[in-house]
């Protein structure tokens, strides 16, 4: 969605927020892996460490979009 001369593509915003969330969730998942929470406070299927691998997936998606659509001098369309 290009707009006049310099509108930042929406994909960049998406990449940026997903990247930030990926960092936070991966870090949380890693902490939970090295320092497991007490058994009574764990969610179902905790042992699969879904937060770690889902966080890594977000990280990859976020990196892809924020790099591919980062604002440049010569603007590319969305």
């Amino acid at each position: 969605m290009e707009e006049r001369e310099k509108q930042i593509p929406i994909w960049f915003f998406i990449g940026a927020i997903v990247l930030i969330y990926g960092v936070l969730i991966t870090a949380t998942g890693f902490l939970g892996w090295v320092s497991p929470p007490p058994a009574g406070t764990r969610v179902a299927l905790w042992e699969l460490h879904a937060d770690l691998w889902w966080g890594l997936l977000l990280l990859a998606i976020g990196l892809f979009y924020s790099l591919k659509y980062r604002p440049r001098r010569k603007h590319r369309s969305a």
Partner: protein
């Protein structure tokens, strides 16, 4: 982080889910992002066309994502998960027969007319085709509907934040509303579209883990479906013999499925009336694609939306089914959720609408839970924003401009759009509270759909396909069908002989009770309750010597209450609700809900007894009247809505045709670009086969058929 820890602690131990600081950080980042986007986009919304139509520059992908996201609000995720919990696999029809044929019809048949007429809105098309009368009815009714649906979004969000965080519902409504008001007022449709596309990603990334983990937990698809069919005997005893796991093979009779509907109602009510009304003429949806940069982008964007729509059952229908399969009480029995209208709702039982939050709490740990909650908040807010931006457009172009001030400048209408966004938010807040009348959030939406959207579709489609349709025919067909819809709704909620709510006893907070657990059929279950002190609120429960009701204190001799109470036609089990009582011998605090258990009321207990009989109750359905509309007294609210939509469409078409035959049509010259046969479609530029809308429409239709066969 200390600040976040403090807020997390304030979330309250009584709330359903416990958020950690990282979850709150994720939520706060989302709010900062959407506000920043709103401020950033303000400079790109400097003309009326920018504000109302996003500059008409969207690509097919953005139009398609926005088209489907406008519909993928959290009303959808929560509401359709609740539907699947209530109606099983039939809940997926909203994404299949209730969407795909209609979206493809919009793309291939209707989009050229919307696009070529260069209208600002669907009511705008009506004005061009039929004149001011039809446009005014559509503009006013659509304005009303958008704020009402936006109110539904607010209610849903306030409820979920209350449930998850323990936040006050009023504060939640105002915080979310102000955020939406800021970013829509600044950036208009562009801002709404940006946030919709952002929300699409968040909702998938935040929700997809639930079905993945849930199916692993259930032991695979087959075991999940077996557990669903096994548990409904406990969860939905009234329809325990119904098939919850099929799309079509359980629609042979009204009794063989949990919705109380047959194939005709599903195909013509859901598949034709509701679906075509919603997808082809709901301006909120259509606005998303008519602003694409060219006709082919508008058509391809719509078809992309259809393909994405078919995937949504993964994140809504499967969680609803998982609610039936894997949500268990601590004793291993299936957890029973109830409708919002059930007296036990929120006291001793969670509701249908809580199925998704309950699954989030079960499977999502710190961080992921924050993402899941953010996805829901994003969905609520983009739902609100979509409705508010559509309201601003229709109010400014179809009500204010033609009826109040025809001579304003572009700057004047831009300001009116901005102010009406704020007014739209305020009106939405006012409507948010009416939701308590309806048993399910989505049913509320369904009611609105068949009030306005279905008649609108009848009027628009005749206008597009039949050049003989006259302005008078369009106006009267539309108006009479709206009135007919409202009348049908009133009819099914009317009780000529009075409606008596189920007999109910509510114990006051702190009341003392003694419980007897001696039930041969269910060991450990409560079989008798003695109320030792406190106060009771009785509804439709006669007590010996106090058959007329009133307030009194039990004197020297105890009173005894039976398991059932007589109503006008039958006897009904008495519900006993104890939101917070004390067990007299152990001093333990407890809450519970019982049905059909006898009770003793000790001397000294205060009683307030009322007998209620209403002629009209919007939360109750009269089975005798339901049978007239939906062809079966087994029909559930959703089935009633589908049949009502069908009759509404039939009435609209009949009245429009009959009136048109007796009135003067517009000259053909005035119908150019508006009616099939009088509209020269622009020559398509040469394009490879894989960019042609018709090719992709056929592909999507084929996939749709295959899905229906697999889950038949």
């Amino acid at each position: 982080m200390a600040f976040l820890s403090l807020i997390a602690a304030m979330s309250g131990s009584a709330s359903m889910l416990h958020l950690r600081p990282v979850d709150l950080l994720i939520i706060i980042i989302y709010f900062i992002f959407v506000l920043a986007i709103g401020f950033y986009l303000k400079k790109f919304a400097s003309t009326g066309d920018d504000f109302f139509m996003a500059g008409r520059k969207m690509t097919a992908w953005i139009a398609g994502l926005s088209f489907i996201s406008a519909n993928l609000s959290s009303l959808e995720t929560m509401g359709w998960s609740a539907m699947a919990y209530q109606y099983g696999m039939l809940g997926a029809h909203g994404y299949l027969i209730g969407a795909i044929p209609a979206i493809l019809f919009l793309a291939i048949v209707m989009m050229p007319f919307y696009y070529i007429s260069r209208t600002h809105s669907v009511p705008g098309y009506l004005q061009l085709r039929y004149g001011e009368g039809a446009r005014s009815v559509a503009g006013i009714s659509f304005s009303f509907m958008t704020v009402a649906v936006s109110g539904a979004s607010m209610f849903a969000m306030a409820k979920i934040l209350n449930l998850l965080l323990g936040w006050d519902m009023n504060i939640s409504i105002w915080v979310a509303s102000l955020t939406v008001a800021v970013y829509v007022t600044l950036g208009g449709l562009l801002s709404a579209v940006f946030n919709e596309v952002l929300q699409f990603f968040l909702i998938w990334l935040g929700s997809l883990l639930i079905p993945i983990l849930g199916i692993i937990h259930a032991g695979g698809w087959g075991k999940m479906m077996a557990a669903v069919q096994r548990n409904v005997a406990v969860i939905h005893p009234a329809v325990q013999n119904a098939d919850f796991t099929s799309l079509w093979q359980n629609l042979g009779s009204f009794a063989s499925n949990p919705m109380g509907i047959d194939w005709f109602g599903m195909l013509f009510g859901q598949g034709i009336a509701v679906a075509f009304g919603y997808w082809c003429t709901d301006f909120l949806q259509v606005q998303r694609v008519i602003v694409a940069k060219d006709l082919r982008s508008a058509q391809n964007g719509t078809i992309i939306g259809a393909a994405l729509k078919m995937m949504v059952p993964l994140i809504v229908t499967i969680p609803g089914l998982l609610g039936l399969a894997v949500l268990m009480n601590s004793d291993g029995s299936p957890m029973v959720l109830v409708p919002e209208s059930d007296p036990r709702a929120g006291i001793t039982h969670n509701t249908f609408n809580d199925v998704l939050p309950l699954l989030m709490g079960k499977y999502l740990g710190p961080g992921l839970l924050g993402l899941g909650v953010t996805a829901m908040i994003a969905g609520f807010m983009s739902g609100m924003a979509g409705n508010v931006s559509a309201f601003a457009t229709v109010w400014t172009h179809d009500v204010y401009k033609p009826l109040i001030n025809r001579k304003g400048s572009d700057r004047h209408y831009l300001n009116m759009g901005r102010w009406s966004s704020v007014v739209g938010v305020l009106l939405s807040i006012a409507t948010a509270y009416t939701l308590f009348f309806f048993s399910n959030i989505l049913e509320y939406l369904q009611v609105l759909v068949f009030f306005f959207i279905v008649p609108l579709f009848g009027t628009v489609i005749l206008g597009m396909l039949w050049k003989r349709a006259t302005p008078a025919g369009g106006f009267w067909g539309f108006l009479v069908a709206i009135l007919f819809s409202v009348s049908m709704w009133a009819y099914v909620h009317t009780f000529p002989h009075g409606y008596q709510p189920q007999p109910k006893v509510t114990l006051s907070h702190g009341a003392e009770v003694l419980l007897t657990r001696a039930n041969a059929a269910k060991p450990g279950a409560i079989s008798y309750i003695s109320i030792e002190s406190g106060a009771l609120d009785l509804v439709n429960v006669p007590l010996f010597g106090h058959e007329e009701g009133g307030e009194f204190t039990v004197q020297d001799q105890p009173l005894y209450m039976r398991e059932v109470a007589p109503l006008r036609k039958t006897a009904a089990p008495i519900q006993i609700l104890a939101p917070e009582v004390v067990i007299a011998d152990t001093r333990e605090q407890q809450k519970f809900g019982l049905s059909a258990v006898p009770a003793r009321i000790s001397p000294g207990v205060k009683v307030r007894s009322t007998f209620i009989s209403r002629r009209f109750d919007p939360a109750a359905f009269n089975p005798d009247h339901v049978k007239v509309i939906a062809r079966s007294d087994k029909a559930k609210p959703m089935a009633v809505n589908m049949y009502s939509a069908w009759w509404s469409l039939v009435v609209c078409l009949l009245v429009t045709i009959v009136v048109s035959l007796f009135t003067r049509p517009k000259p053909e010259a005035e119908l150019k670009n508006l009616v099939m046969g009088l509209t020269p479609l622009p020559k398509e530029e040469a394009a490879p086969w894989h960019r042609k809308p018709l090719f992709w429409a056929v592909v999507v239709m084929a996939v749709f058929i295959v899905i229906n066969i697999i889950f038949w």
